[in-house]
């Protein structure tokens, strides 16, 4: 009776010692795990989706391997609907090693801007939920999540159409320069064109023109749309603007002009 009980006691103590040493070293080594997120880069995919790529390095100088390392990101709009998500899975991060990966988030700009047209013109904030999960020492599940706001810069911020400048072009037409300006606050460059249709007071189209532009990210744009209007067009006109980007067609934006 005494001997088996004593053996059970010794075995229990040994398991306890192993368990405590394992748990303490596993938790302690978590302080030597670092997750570095670099500056993101963006590019357009073939199907005109915006690809945000975050370089991530996981430095594991702890005692144990990290298993099932997963990073997932969820981008939400101001009203809480999901705009984009991305997930990166690393089966194992061996100890004393650094793993470099790229965490990609695909943002469907067409859906985003169709559902939230004001995001074309107004800066706002996108709520982002980032979750990092892993198995510390390949045994203890750990999950860390954080909510952060990322600023959204409007691609057509402060869009303005200035006063047209008229000049005589030839015997039949006037040359009209319509100043157009906006600031591209977005983190991607804006390539596309703007079509300007001019209508007279009778709502008949007088003329139209197309102008291409290529505006770099975080850059202002200032240009003139050139039009040729036949003489005799009333002074009361209205413009209709159509923007065409690879990811979205937007218009008409009606701008009245004249007395």
């Amino acid at each position: 009776m005494r001997v088996p009980i004593r053996i059970i006691g010794i075995a229990t103590s040994a398991i306890w010692a192993f368990l405590i040493i394992f748990m303490v070293t596993a938790i302690y080594s978590m302080k030597d795990v670092r997750l570095n997120i670099g500056q993101f880069q963006n590019s357009m995919t073939q199907d005109n989706q915006l690809l945000l790529s975050f370089p991530i390095s996981i430095v594991n100088t702890g005692f144990y391997n990290l298993a099932q390392f997963n990073i997932s990101t969820l981008v939400l709009s101001a009203n809480g609907s999901m705009l984009a998500n991305g997930s990166t899975f690393i089966p194992i991060v061996v100890h004393e090693r650094t793993v470099n990966v790229t965490h990609d988030i695909t943002l469907n700009l067409t859906d985003l801007l169709l559902a939230n047209r004001d995001m074309l013109f107004d800066d706002t904030e996108l709520s982002t939920n980032m979750t990092v999960s892993m198995r510390a020492a390949e045994a203890i599940p750990i999950l860390a999540s954080s909510n952060i706001s990322i600023p959204w810069g409007a691609p057509l911020y402060n869009l303005r159409i200035g006063n047209p400048e008229y000049s005589i072009y030839n015997a039949t037409h006037s040359r009209v320069l319509v100043p157009l300006s906006f600031e591209n606050h977005a983190f991607f460059s804006l390539t596309g064109n703007v079509q300007l249709h001019v209508y007279n007071s009778a709502n008949a189209q007088v003329t139209q023109t197309t102008m291409d532009f290529n505006v770099l990210e975080y850059s202002p744009y200032q240009g003139n749309v050139e039009l040729y209007i036949p003489f005799g067009t009333t002074s009361r006109v209205h413009f209709e603007m159509f923007f065409a980007f690879p990811f979205l067609n937007y218009g008409p934006l009606v701008v009245p002009y004249g007395n």
Binding site: M1, I15, V24, Y28, K31, I140, I142, L143, A144, S146
Partner: protein, 150 residues
């Protein structure tokens, strides 16, 4: 008179041995606690209350261990041993929130799933509890046999 002296000396030696054993065990637990608190010190800012939690646990555990050792040779030794197992189980369930350790600091929330660890600890402690009960029964039955023989 000689037999009485010898019995008294034996009792004295046993008491000194018990006290020495208790002091050594307490010293070992205290040294382990100091090492553990040093190792876990970098995590203290992340987990507020960790040091306090550990301290309370060690104080109660050591107190029960001292009482259990000092009452060795009586049925109370096993009762306090069982109480120690019960305390470890209850304390870990409560302090580890049933194995899901959840903590929020700033905008970051952290969740550590210690259910596997808790299950192993519970099994070990149930084994310890059963051991104490069996030893108590064994002790009582041996006493009963001695009384009958006398």
């Amino acid at each position: 008179m000689g037999i009485e002296d010898s019995s008294h000396g034996k009792k004295m030696r046993k008491t000194v041995f018990t006290i020495a054993k208790t002091v050594i065990k307490t010293a070992i637990v205290c040294i382990l606690y100091v090492i553990l608190s040093q190792v876990l010190a970098p995590l203290s800012p992340l987990i507020p209350g960790l040091q306090g939690m550990l301290q309370t646990f060690i104080i109660v555990y050591v107190a029960l261990m001292i009482v259990s050792n000092l009452t060795s040779g009586t049925v109370f030794q096993h009762m306090f041993g069982a109480a120690r197992c019960g305390f470890v189980m209850a304390y870990l369930i409560v302090s580890l929130n049933s194995g899901i350790f959840d903590y929020t600091f700033g905008s970051v929330s952290l969740m550590v799933d210690l259910r596997m660890f808790l299950v192993i600890v519970m099994m070990l402690e149930i084994l310890g509890l059963a051991k104490s009960v069996i030893l108590a029964i064994d002790f009582v039955s041996q006493k009963a046999e001695l009384i009958r023989i006398q």
